[in-house]
Symmetry: C3
Subunit: 131 residues, 3 copies
Amino acid sequence: MESVIISTETRVQLIDITERIRDVVSEKGWKDGAVLLFVPHTTAGITINEGADPDVRRDLEATLSRLVPYRGSYRHAEGNSDAHIKTTLTGNSSLVILQDGRLKLGTWQSIFFCEYDGPRTRSLWIQHLEG
Amino acid sequence: MESVIISTETRVQLIDITERIRDVVSEKGWKDGAVLLFVPHTTAGITINEGADPDVRRDLEATLSRLVPYRGSYRHAEGNSDAHIKTTLTGNSSLVILQDGRLKLGTWQSIFFCEYDGPRTRSLWIQHLEG
Amino acid sequence: MESVIISTETRVQLIDITERIRDVVSEKGWKDGAVLLFVPHTTAGITINEGADPDVRRDLEATLSRLVPYRGSYRHAEGNSDAHIKTTLTGNSSLVILQDGRLKLGTWQSIFFCEYDGPRTRSLWIQHLEG
């Protein structure tokens, strides 16, 4: 299992980590099967969506915050219930197929680490699965 | 990796693709482990839900569109921000266990391709994972 | 493939099943790769989130029920459309990395079976994937 460190800068922030995952796959020499990307946190998730226009991730951040407001009526005393809920709605893992040593993504797809309670120093775990 | 083509007919449409995945598994002769179903688009997802009553998918389509309206206040200029957001809420991949060469699904489960910005011609990628 | 039985006690209930999954991994002697946790139902899901404070899951249950109310305007005649929709929003499978025969989870992560139309007797399927 490999691990990468991700430093986030604001409370809610989607960060394109596609190149970092490509680097790990290349360094490890994984050729086929798939990679499992696993976020070991409970207030951050991962998603695959459009990377070309930054407005897509801004719309995603804004819509999630409209559906699950930061200052809502929650019981959890730490004040970050919204972040836990967004994590479940987004999911905490993604899978990407490998082909000939390359991440197999669609034309417009990028991989985003989704910080919902930053800024923090985060980890992402990467496990190769045999095809 | 295998690929199937899916033609969608309306803007928002959940299509039962269970039989098409069964056909691929059968043709390839995959026996166990699991199959990873990966949607390489950023305005379409995949989910596993009830296939018996078409009203379940209509309720799902209607509820997603209530939570994330087509004509909302978005920044992305292409006019399909709702479709990108629904894709993240739904997810762009699913996994199904294989047993003795068969998709192992629950009694009521079907696999749905979720078109959120159609009609379009879409791809679905299918990767066998070793058990 | 292994299977565990989960008995739920109320209509909506998130149940921490981490120890039960640990027991299966230990009994089977699976060492590395990952485990796929698959819910074969259409009104129950699975998520990984904070297990320390029960208020986190209560906030998650309450927020999902606010976004997708039990008694909404639905077409599906069985009266459990909200449960089908919550299942898609949550997802019906999770993956956890194995390392040296152990579930590799973050400090605060627990695995939750998400009952959305209980009480019922449910199954969870567990498939080892090779790393």
